[in-house]
């Protein structure tokens, strides 16, 4: 069932813009060529009945309910499969058509009796509507559903039920799985009356290949596939359009609500980022918002070993302000700082950095993007001129070659992955550069042309080798590079990269990538003609993360793959508002719009607007804050929506730093791991409880709209405002729209953004200003933002983290589809049905030599610490490399990662840790304790270390 306020047009929009005029029921209608009669009629307000059609799926023409008459034509063609033609005269209703349609519907209801009372789809069932419109209450052919009824419901999936009794075998679910999601997990098995929808090999949904995206549920015209939440709560009454709070795709969703309860989440078919699709997290995993673990009252305590004491908002805010001021009096203004969150809105992150800079008088503000995509900001700013991806997601549909580097889109960015897979099924070539065989390498109807399975830590050697082939084989686009880039930098770079030390043959021993395969990949990329690079944290989270981003930009500039659709350099951001939090001035050296704090003109703008003097020196970054805490010069920290203790590397080091501080303030939904070391806890609000905006990986600013009241009484932006007031720097905003107005006044790339425009356009890709009033889908068209593109020399420097006889394996980390980041949200949903623990993937050769089999507990030891995980023996990794995720606190994966970091940005080197793995009998005692706490309720008074 699609969204309750969706106006379904039956078939997708045509690609053409050429107008065609026809007559439908005597009225002229003009639509693009290629439009179906069904869609043209719907656009003209004429509803043609249908069952097998919906506007996210290609026309199928099976139900025969949408028949029409065409003057001069023979028979009664299906309006879904018949395209409009100039001068065509169509009649959508007549006595003959009614007779035909009644016959069709009678046949359907012969096997699907109209006993609609009590059906969860009642009022929203397309078969019920069709029957009612034709006046059908029973069927001449009825056998009471004898051939269809009596099958057991499949309730294995935690979020939806498949009730074959209610299925009309229209194939919409099967086609949604094929066309929208691209998993091809469903089929119709059997023939005639024996036809049944089947998941994989006639398996329960939970055990099948189904990835639970829910596209089938949304496509179902009856209640055969139905959300359990709707069955339990009843039909929703209203829909609120908002933006998903999970990954950087930023899907537009409709929260469908009954009273004050969210019944279900449905992707917005007008959503530009997601085109009416969602994933298992965005569509289904919203239950955390009302989970019993939510903290509903502020709390304080003197020492982190004390129990929490619930207090009023006024007391918590007043206590925090007093503590921060006390610390600043004793240790100076720079002894405190704040952290903004990529899980919070643009408006909230802007306010936190404003509070730190203006109210606390320091630039000690940073954001969790520090530990993920900070190298993207540095690398793309220096080469191209802007700290952001270059394309819109839809650009991928014009790509001929798609390179995926250090990203796993089907797990981390599943809705974009569906679009990407659609393009690959159309014939685009795929190159994967990843130490792990991600699903994209080989998936239904898709096989990568090349998988460069490099050793962790050798990215720069690989990108240099690719560029070496391009340059030395004469595959560079010299005309483009010389016209669009600094000529000196291009010449220097060409000479640098042409050196034999960068050749695939010379680097093969280092990277582990066969030279011939690498040469083939380089030729494919250079041939394009449209070649696009998508990358993730496998690029950035290295000691040479920034160098690699620059290497990617170099390669794209050298081949002319920037500045138009179908090409580009696109970072896939992990969290929903990574781009936005960076844009909003969350970094300690930059104001919003990526302007350095030492720039007196920019600083003057903010000083005038905020009526304060601002510091001109860069502040501490997150890892620097920890070091300063340990030396006693940093003692107070306001953390909005970030769980350092679980997400940052070298956990014991982080714990030691937090434990050394005097006032740690955590503002979050739950008592996260970091809260164990906090003195003040301020309850946060989920994305359902506030207004604001998120900016996704394609620079798209989208509205977040309040669906329910904040559980603890205040939205996050209101909490920050109160804290600013208590610190003596009052902020006066009646609504987040006023914060956005201030952002627009102070930030050139946001100059034209307002809530009014966002409501009018749906979303806006920045830059949005006088030059681009409706936003900028593709950047660097005609020229680069910095004027001329600049090539940087990207020498490969091996990480100091190397395998040794003591630590012979390299550990790298990633994500799974069903959990999100540190799992704070998804661990509190039924997504646990798919993944309830982090596991260590190990190659059979490495497992065998250690006596490890599937499911064994294994100890993982590095130079920083050790932890215990369960093993999965897998050939996804090459020998010598092991892999795990970091979604569960009891896994303690970051106990073993190191403090190594990117040279330019301090982004941690999560992707390379030398470890040893041995079989053990059981997890560590602290892991058992944390797991027990998680399953039985948190024990906040007990620190873990």
């Amino acid at each position: 069932m699609y969204s309750i306020d969706h106006n379904d047009l039956g078939t997708p929009a045509a690609a053409s813009i050429e107008p065609v005029t026809l007559e439908i029921d005597d009225s002229p209608v003009t639509v693009p060529a290629g439009t179906s009669i069904m869609r043209a009629a719907a656009l003209a307000g004429r509803r043609i009945p249908k069952l097998c059609a919906t506007d996210t799926l290609r026309a199928f023409g099976s139900c025969r309910l949408c028949l029409v008459e065409i003057e001069g034509g023979r028979g009664f063609p299906a309006s879904c499969t018949t395209e409009v033609a100039g001068g065509m005269k169509v009649r959508t209703d007549s006595a003959r058509l009614q007779q035909l349609r009644r016959g069709v519907v009678e046949l359907y209801v012969s096997d699907h009796p109209l006993d609609c009372a009590g059906c969860p789809a009642e009022g929203h069932c397309e078969l019920q509507d069709a029957a009612a419109n034709l006046g059908i209450e029973s069927s001449r052919y009825s056998n009471g559903g004898a051939t269809q009824r009596g099958f057991a419901k499949d309730a294995s999936n935690p979020y939806f039920v498949f009730d074959s009794d209610l299925c009309i075998v229209c194939s919409r679910c099967v086609r949604a799985c094929d066309e929208v999601q691209g998993t091809l997990a469903l089929t119709i098995e059997g023939r005639g009356f024996g036809s049944r929808v089947s998941a994989s090999q006639h398996q329960p949904f939970l055990e099948s290949e189904c990835v639970s995206c829910g596209a089938c549920v949304e496509a179902c015209p009856t209640a055969a596939l139905m959300e359990k939440s709707q069955i339990a709560l009843g039909a929703p009454a209203r829909a609120v359009t908002t933006t998903c709070g999970y990954c950087g795709v930023g899907c537009s969703l409709k929260a469908e609500v009954k009273d004050a309860t969210v019944v279900r989440m449905v992707p917005n078919r007008s959503g530009t980022a997601n085109k009416g699709h969602a994933c298992v997290k965005g569509r289904f995993a919203f239950g955390y918002a009302t989970h019993a673990d939510r903290v509903r009252r502020p709390m304080i305590r003197e020492r982190i070993t004390d129990p929490w004491r619930e207090v009023s908002w006024d007391e918590a805010i007043g206590h925090t302000a007093a503590e921060f001021r006390r610390i600043q009096r004793m240790h100076g203004p720079d002894a405190v700082g704040g952290i903004t969150s990529s899980r919070c809105t643009n408006e909230e992150t802007f306010l936190v950095q404003k509070l730190v800079r203006a109210a606390l008088g320091t630039n000690n503000v940073d954001t969790c993007a520090r530990v993920c995509h900070s190298p993207t900001g540095y690398g793309l700013k220096h080469t191209l001129g802007e700290s952001a991806g270059t394309q819109a997601f839809t650009s991928v549909m014009k790509a001929d070659v798609i390179v995926v580097i250090g990203a796993n889109p089907t797990d981390g960015h599943p809705v974009f992955a569906s679009q990407l897979k659609r393009r690959l099924r159309q014939g685009a070539k795929l190159i994967v550069i990843d130490p792990r065989m991600i699903d994209l390498v080989r998936t239904p109807h898709i096989e990568a042309a090349a998988h460069l399975q490099l050793r962790p830590g050798t990215n720069v050697a690989v990108i240099n080798a690719l560029a070496h082939v391009v340059v030395t084989e004469g595959l560079a686009n010299d005309a483009y590079a010389e016209a669009r880039c600094e000529q000196d930098s291009y010449r220097n770079w060409k000479a640098f990269i042409a050196d034999a030390r960068h050749s695939p043959e010379a680097t093969e021993a280092t990277t582990g990538v066969p030279a011939a395969l690498l040469r083939a990949a380089a030729r494919i990329y250079a041939a394009g003609p449209n070649s696009a690079i998508y990358y993730g944290l496998g690029v950035t989270e290295h000691s040479q993360g920034t160098t690699m981003v620059m290497g990617i930009a170099n390669l794209a500039m050298a081949t002319g793959n920037l500045g138009r659709e179908g090409v580009g350099v696109s970072p896939l951001r992990g969290q929903n508002n990574v781009q936005g939090s960076c844009d909003m001035g969350s970094f300690p050296h930059e104001f919003s719009g990526y302007r350095h704090v030492s720039d007196s003109a920019t600083r003057g703008l903010f000083e005038a607007a905020w009526n304060v003097n601002l510091a001109s020196e860069p502040g501490l970054r997150i890892p620097n804050m920890f070091e300063a805490a340990l030396d006693g010069s940093f003692r107070g920290l306001y953390i909005q929506g970030e769980d350092f203790v679980q997400s940052d590397p070298n956990t014991n080091h982080v714990i030691a730093a937090l434990s050394a501080m005097e006032c740690v303030v955590v503002q979050d939904l739950f008592l996260i791991e970091t809260a164990r070391y906090a003195h003040v806890f301020l309850p946060g609000s989920s994305f359902l409880e506030k207004d604001g905006t998120f900016t996704n990986a394609e620079r798209r600013i989208s509205r977040v709209r309040k669906v329910m009241e904040p559980i603890a009484g205040l939205a996050d932006w209101e909490v920050t405002m109160r804290l600013a007031q208590a610190l003596g720097h009052p902020m006066h905003y009646a609504h987040p729209s006023e914060i956005m107005d201030e952002i627009a006044r102070l930030t050139p790339t946001f100059r034209g953004v307002s809530y009014e425009k966002l409501d009018r356009l749906g979303s806006i890709q920045w830059p949005c200003n006088d030059a681009a009033p409706d936003g900028t889908p593709t950047m660097h068209v005609g020229s680069f933002v910095r004027g001329k593109g600049k090539f940087y020399l990207t020498e490969y420097v091996a990480t100091s983290e190397r395998s040794t006889s003591r630590f012979p394996l390299l550990l790298t980390t990633g994500r799974v589809l069903y959990q999100y980041n540190v799992g704070t949200q998804t661990r509190r949903t039924a997504n646990l049905a798919w993944q309830a623990e982090d596991r260590l993937e190990i190659h059979p050769d490495d497992a065998e030599s250690r006596g490890i089999v599937d499911g064994d507990w294994v100890g993982v030891t590095s130079r920083t610490g050790d932890t215990v995980l369960r093993a999965i023996v897998s050939r996804r990794m090459r020998p010598g490399v092991v892999y795990t995720t970091f979604h569960f606190p009891e896994s303690g994966v970051n106990v073993v990662t190191t403090e190594n970091s990117d040279w330019a940005t301090n982004c941690p080197e999560y992707k390379v840790t030398a470890v040893e793995v041995v079989k053990v009998e059981q997890p560590e005692a602290w892991q058992v304790r944390i797991r027990a706490e998680r399953s039985t309720g948190f024990s906040p008074a007990m620190p873990s270390a």
Partner: protein, 68 residues
Amino acid sequence: MNIERLVAMANDIAAFFATEPDPDAGAEQVANHLRRFWEPRMRDAIRRFVQDGGAGLSPLARRGVERL
């Protein structure tokens, strides 16, 4: 500040700018990076470390720090 960590970070920065053919320009790029991204107490710590001998810093990193 943990000086060992700062030395490692400065050396990593210098390793990137070591591709600059003009050593003076390379040292200035290291210094400029430290000015733009290192908080004053970090710069103070590495400066003092160089004044005390600076053992462990690469030559380019050292020249960069000396320009602060």
